[in-house]
Subunit: 196 residues, 2 copies
């Protein structure tokens, strides 16, 4: 099992989401996706969104696009950034009740809407629209997203991430070995090779 | 030409130093090494040493060692860290007068002394001892390191790095394309492939 933590507001999370299942599959591993809210985590670590750092922020904007090219996937920086990841995170937790495949399918659709179509999935209506286009019932999904159960589930995932000292996105655990960043994919591959 | 900026106090700089000339050589490119002092740069960016961040610092200590394994090179975290990079930086600028090969040879020896033998190259005597073992005349080197010319040269390299918005180590430019981090080596390879 590989745990994959990501914030929808993380472009590197989007890049990782496009790669990790393919990579894990080559080693017969499944991936458990966990949506997190970095804002809540940064309260513990004092962290800040990457784009707010002097110099590093400008570099990051350039690197997001170049890294997408490197992986051969489309990318367009969203106009409204960072986005509030609560709505898409809750939406995929509802989709997970159907199946983990449904969850991943919706997550990838939401990532694509944000990072290739400049749609602000931070707004519930946009998240539900994307869900609708992806074959989910937006009315049922929207209602389930507002239940205390789903709200608590997201909170518990974030709390667990805090316990595991997840400080950024994407963040992976292979068993208990932590890897931070989409640029650790080659090391993850090397690690999985050694673990076989 | 590839520009390679590094701080001796950066473990990822050490890892990059072990790889970059080999990689560049496969594309017929030469590498120009530039020692920098991140402390001076952090005054402009508000940056901090990686190991001082909550959670990320502990992760980094683990990742330094694992990344060294990944590249197949020895690594032992120095007891005294971060080190003051002024002495080794000036020393390699003196060695550069002999040749760029001499500069790189001394830089690699200093990196190895720090990251495999736990020797504090921040101390001038240790830097000179390492230089001696590497075939340099420690007396002539030590005298040259204290000249205003060498002091100014290091300052100018740091100033130029600030102009180019180098905010971390290792940092590379291929022509004017910036790459930050040893984990960008695969992208550098991809970029060089495309540029051929």
């Amino acid at each position: 099992m590989i745990d994959f933590y990501f914030d929808f507001s993380s472009p590197y999370g989007y890049l990782a989401a496009s790669q990790i299942d393919k990579l894990a599959g080559r080693f017969g591993r499944t991936v458990n996706w966990h949506p997190i809210l970095l804002g809540a985590i940064f309260k513990h670590t004092g962290g800040q969104p990457l784009t707010q750092f002097a110099w590093k922020g400008d570099y990051a904007l350039h690197d997001f696009a170049r890294s997408a090219d490197f992986y051969g996937i489309p990318f367009k920086m969203p106009t409204n950034f960072p986005v509030n990841a609560v709505a898409p995170s809750r939406a995929i937790l509802v989709a997970k009740r159907e199946s983990t495949d449904a969850m991943k399918r919706l997550a990838l659709s939401l990532f694509k809407a944000l990072y290739t179509q400049d749609r602000d999935i931070g707004q519930i209506e946009i998240t539900l629209q994307v869900a609708d286009e992806s074959g989910f019932d937006p009315r049922a999904l929207g209602a389930a997203m507002q239940t205390q159960e789903v709200k608590d589930e997201l909170k518990q995932i974030v709390d667990r991430a805090v316990e595991r000292k997840v400080f950024g996105s994407p963040f992976f655990f292979i068993d208990n070995e932590p890897f931070w960043g989409v640029d650790r994919l080659p090391q993850i591959e090397w690690f999985l090779n050694q673990s076989e």
